[in-house]
């Protein structure tokens, strides 16, 4: 059963070309009087900006739809249209059943009111009836873990308590469709786990979930359907894995191969010139994206213009923040003029998920850098995990499986 259908929805914003964001009364009056006296001269040309362009999407009952896309792709605008905060410029949205949207945790909390008063206030804002709130009151307080502070004004709460209370109220809402935006960005790991679990419960009970997050791991773990937005347009929708793959492919700054045909145009100097550098998955099955399991093979070739030179290559792998994860080189050997080929194997289950880049340095006589080929390759490693229900960012620069951790039941009580 289709519970939500979005038909040709577009949303236009008008930008002032003059760019005066501080529209004060005086400006408007001046512009208005100008327009009377000089009707021919259009002072206030408006520029249209389409935040959403012709979106068509259907959501079936029980679906967990993940919206992905870069910042400014229109995800939040779409959620705002769905939750009726703004109206679409064109098109219609048909909603079957009660929809609640959670674009922020603790919307409308008043700092001066106590936790108890805020539960009723926030519940009403989210569209709960008083009887429903009364019914769930104890569960909410329990879930948030604030029973001791229920009669304290929320301005005295720690930020964690505040967020927990906000989420607890929203989680006990029983809408047929729940719209959630980035709530996972807040709270500690424990709370994130709790909230993902709660959202999973929502979908398991046959209700529909629409979820926006930049945490692709969470989106993939939680959702079964996906929709990828770019510049206000729906690029792809369907199974979540396909959608996320499509998204990752288009956004990541992949540079997996550089190649030069002749030494003349290649980077380098009189002594060495770069011929090619590439990174491929070192396995039978070729994939577009690398995940943490994928073993990688780097191949590097360069022209050596020196006779009888003692050379070696030093490879640097950096994380996105510029931290060097490792630097490793081969043994120095004597080479004649011609092409030198270097291969480097990076095992699977070694790097953590994230963005990395590689630089390579050619060293002469074991100490003198001949040429430093910086930022030669760039790639992303996607997350892959099994056997865990936790979807937060895996910490660490590496995630090596070669380090083993084992537990046994040592004793029985």
């Amino acid at each position: 059963m289709t519970v939500l259908s979005i038909e040709n929805v577009s949303k236009r914003y008008q930008l002032n070309q003059k760019g005066n964001s501080t529209d004060d009364l005086r400006d408007t009056v001046t512009r208005w009087s100008n327009s009377i006296f000089k009707p021919s001269k259009n002072h206030n040309k408006k520029e249209d900006f389409w935040a959403l362009k012709d979106i068509n999407l259907e959501v079936k009952q029980g679906d967990r739809l993940g919206l992905v896309g870069a910042n400014g792709a229109g995800k939040s605008t779409l959620l705002k249209v769905l939750s009726q905060i703004t109206e679409p410029t064109n098109g219609i949205v048909k909603v079957k059943g009660r929809m609640a949207s959670l674009l922020e945790v603790g919307t409308g909390f008043h700092p001066e009111l106590t936790g108890r008063e805020n539960i009723f206030l926030n519940g009403a804002i989210l569209g709960m009836q008083k009887s429903e709130i009364v019914k769930h009151f104890d569960a909410i307080v329990d879930f948030a873990g604030i029973s001791k502070f229920i009669d304290t004004p929320v301005k005295r709460y720690s930020s964690g308590m505040y967020v927990r209370l906000g989420f607890a109220i929203a989680a006990h809402l029983e809408p047929e469709i729940l719209v959630v935006d980035e709530v996972l960005a807040v709270g500690d790991a424990d709370f994130q786990k709790k909230s993902i679990g709660k959202m999973r419960d929502v979908s398991n009970s046959g209700r529909t979930l629409i979820f926006v997050s930049h945490n692709l791991t969470a989106v993939q773990g939680l959702c079964n359907k996906g929709a990828y937005l770019r510049n206000g347009e729906l690029i792809k929708s369907g199974k979540i894995d396909e959608v996320v793959n499509e998204y990752v492919k288009t956004v990541s700054k992949f540079q997996l191969k550089q190649n030069w045909a002749t030494p003349d145009e290649a980077p380098g100097n009189d002594q060495v010139r770069i011929k090619t550098i590439s990174l491929t998955p070192n396995q039978e099955i070729l994939t577009d994206n690398f995940d943490t399991r994928t073993p990688l093979k780097m191949v590097f070739e360069y022209w050596n213009m020196m006779d009888n030179a003692e050379l070696n290559v030093s490879i640097f792998l950096y994380s996105m923040t510029g931290e060097c994860i490792f630097n490793i080189g081969d043994d120095a050997k004597f080479y004649q003029q011609g092409i030198v080929r270097v291969e480097c194997d990076i095992p699977g289950d070694f790097l953590n998920d994230g963005s990395y880049y590689i630089s390579a340095m050619i060293v002469k006589d074991r100490l003198a850098p001949v040429f430093f080929f910086e930022d030669a390759l760039a790639f992303d490693i996607l997350d892959y995990r099994e056997g865990t229900d936790w979807y937060g960012k895996w910490p660490g620069a590496v995630r090596p499986k070669m380090i083993s951790v084992n537990s046994v039941q040592k004793e029985l009580l």
């Binding site: 079957k96 059943g97 949207s101 206030l121 804002i125």
Partner: protein
């Protein structure tokens, strides 16, 4: 399970809108309750301020206009009683106007994050002033006992005129609230208007005394002030047969309400969907 289909589109009919307001009545009450609860949080006197403000205003007014301005010499009843309806109306009107004009901006966190018919926010401001009105009327009774004055049956019309006062404030308040979203200048203008509105409304004096001056043109302007109509009407119904019903100021009041009430709602409806883009 409520499985009626809802359609989100750029157009919405007035009946849908009214139905929706009805659906959100719970929120209406809770917002009103919130405003009242929050008003005197972390104050020592709490609700006591709602007693002190009208009381002190009445005393000061009676003293300034009555004793110093020597307006009390030709009134048949104690001047404090004459001032009381003026103070009740003025405090209610100014408070409602202030609250209305700020209502959308002060609730911007709600407006930008959740959906509900926005009209609920300004509508719920009525209760804030109403609590004070009830306390002021209670004070009026105490003053009546003090001066051994007995109002007649017309007292039962008080709620009606209080409602008219709110409706008068509602029109301009609602328009100000909409404008305030885009032009925060309104937030500066309203307190200023309230400050001098005091003197051009018959709070501490009688409309009669304006009429009896030689400046007939001034009286004609004076009665156009909707607050004048409200105060005159309340004096008529609260003070036995002290004041006559003043049609000169009542008719402009009714016309004012009819015009601004409907216009302001139309104006509000036209702009409410762009609040989130400007707030």
């Amino acid at each position: 399970m409520n499985s009626k289909e809802r359609i989100i589109t750029a157009k919405k009919s007035i009946t849908d809108y009214l139905n929706e307001i009805w659906d959100f009545k719970e929120l209406f009450w809770i917002l009103a309750k919130r405003d009242i609860l929050v008003k005197y949080k972390q104050t020592v006197l709490g609700i006591g301020w709602s007693v002190i403000r009208p009381l002190i205003t009445m005393i000061v007014m009676a003293f300034a206009f009555g004793k110093i301005g020597k307006l009390d010499t030709n009134t048949a009843i104690p001047f404090t009683l004459v001032v009381a309806p003026g103070v009740i109306i003025w405090l209610f009107f100014s408070q409602s106007l202030q609250a209305l004009s700020q209502s959308i901006v002060l609730n911007s966190n709600l407006v930008s994050k959740v959906y509900f018919p926005r009209l609920i926010i300004p509508l719920s401001t009525i209760f804030l002033g109403l609590v004070d009105v009830l306390i002021s009327i209670f004070l009026f009774f105490i003053i009546c006992i003090w001066y051994q004055f007995l109002p007649d049956w017309k007292l039962f019309l008080v709620p009606f005129f209080i409602l008219l006062t709110f409706m008068a404030a509602f029109g301009i308040g609602l328009i100000s609230a909409v404008l305030n979203v885009k032009f925060r200048d309104i937030g500066q203008i309203i307190p200023f208007v309230i400050q001098f509105g005091y003197f051009i409304s018959p709070v501490g004096y009688l409309t009669e005394s304006v009429k009896s001056t030689d400046h007939a043109w001034y009286y004609k302007l004076f009665v156009l002030n909707p607050v004048t109509g409200c105060i005159d009407a309340l004096r008529w119904c609260m003070l036995d047969d002290f004041a006559n019903f003043n049609w000169d100021s009542f008719i402009p009041l009714i016309l004012f309400i009819i015009f601004t009430f409907f216009y302001s709602i139309r104006f509000f409806r036209k702009h409410e969907n762009s609040f989130v883009d400007h707030i």
